[in-house]
Assembly symmetry: C2
Homo-oligomer: 261 residues x 2
DNA sequence: AATGACCTTTTCACTCAGTGAAAAACGTTC
DNA sequence: GAACGTTTTTCACTGAGTGAAAAGGTCATT
């Protein structure tokens, strides 16, 4: 059933905006589409999309498979890796994440705050049947995950107010959905220095997370997740805090020295 | 003096092409630029780039830092993750790579073949001063790296011929640069089931690598690198082969079942 | 083989979105 | 304070981009 109509952008914008709309039509749910699907989702005439997609393909931002379906091209991927989020943050964080993973042998995550939610930048997991929720690049709510709470707790009060002022969607029975409860929770996180969340986002998963501070400002969060409701996850808190602190310091160093490799 | 009009780049044609040229101006070497740099590199008038960059920023394909410099935006990164190269292979491979990393505590790499060279898809490293050469997304020569050789050795003979027919650039004293020598090397790789390369690409580094076979066709390679010329890297061959085989089987399973998690 | 459903590709007259030189407005460094 | 490089705004002009419609493909179903 096509109940789509998520982008009814009748307001035909600039050529560039249209081109981006074409690219944006592809999503995690539908990473490849036919020309006409693309047109429908982007809300543009087929002929227009035909031309635009052709040019995007030329530039390798799109690619067509054997069947003629469009998906995002290698160029897109290559360029994505030049993004500060990846190029810098992920690269610098890797050794810390790996060491932490080595010590706890649980799934280790790195997330940053972007807009009003958190985004997973890296996930090191040994789990072969890992849930989709925490795909790298996935956006996750700040109020309902350990990494989100770790970031939010040490953010500016004004930002906290913005977030707690927005609707706080419920994902499980344990999700915190009122501003009051959220603020209380965040205070607790600040007190103990890390967040601990049990089944607030996904049933059956529990997680701890710590903020990564760079020059007094939170830049990311490192978390440990377990999908079997381990109740002793906190035994890894020291190592996690060490990883978070270590990463923070390293980022400060790199920010100071332009490029001290 | 006479610096009036120098248009080094051939004038990009369509609006879309120009927009892509603006994005394409950013590179691994210069991941962030001022507006006018952007214009110069893209070979477009400043006013034009000003407008285009504005729109690209709106769509979060570009972003500006505090100083007003442009770099690639989060959107670019998010979408890059939807690319076929990344999405599947990397996700499935992670547990195998992590286990291998756990066992050898050396830098572990995953690469696939794209066109006439290999591309690093993932790199797990504990090394904080890791060389730039093996950046994720970096393209590396098939003839001069362990992962490249591992892939090439088990490729179709026709493809091997194409590669060995091309110029084989020399990177170090140890680089194999003649078709004869390359073929001999590849035969050896086939015989022993893995590649072992010492200072063929980067001085001071040694690596081993094994191909990942999926239904009889090579799809990737898993490698272990060391930057201090460890001469006993081969002790990890069994684990590496196990990881490669494990990943191969997992990929076969997933190819069979459309989507079994 | 004829039908219909859905897709891709081409065409073409119209017009409005995109253009870029030039000038204004900043922000530096000497 | 002037000389330089930057970013931003303005504006008259015009060809690049548009999209409806028609033509051409491909694949089921009858």
């Amino acid at each position: 059933m096509s109940n789509v109509a998520q982008f009814p952008k009748s307001t035909a914008k600039s050529v560039t905006a249209r081109a981006l709309a074409v690219l944006g039509a592809l999503s995690a749910q539908e990473p490849s589409m036919t020309l006409s699907q693309l047109a429908r989702v982007a809300g543009l005439p087929v002929a227009t999309v035909y031309r635009l997609a052709g040019e995007l393909e030329e530039g390798r931002f799109l690619q067509r498979d054997a069947a003629g379906r469009y998906s995002l091209g290698v160029r897109m991927w290559e360029m994505g890796l030049l993004t500060p989020v990846h190029g810098h943050m992920r690269e610098v964080a890797m050794p810390f994440l790996l060491n932490l993973q080595y010590e706890c042998r649980e799934t280790v995550q790195l997330a940053v705050c972007d807009g009003v939610d958190a985004v997973y930048i890296e996930k090191l997991t040994l789990d072969t049947k890992t849930p989709v929720q925490s795909r790298i690049g996935a956006r996750i709510p700040l109020h309902a995950t350990a990494v989100g709470q770790a970031i939010l707790a040490v953010s500016d009060q004004s930002f906290i107010d913005v977030i707690s002022g927005m609707p706080l969607p419920r994902f499980t029975d344990n999700t915190v959905t009122t501003p009051r409860a959220l603020n209380k929770l965040l205070e607790q996180v600040r007190d103990q220095g890390f967040a601990h969340s049990t089944e607030e986002y996904v049933a059956g998963s529990t997680a701890i997370a710590a903020p990564v501070m760079v020059n007094g400002k939170v830049e990311a969060a490192i978390g440990i997740v377990n999908y079997e409701l381990r109740d002793d996850l906190e035994i890894y808190v020291p190592q996690m805090l060490e990883a978070a602190a270590g990463l923070g310091h390293r980022l400060e160093e790199l920010a100071a020295n332009p490029e001290s490799h």
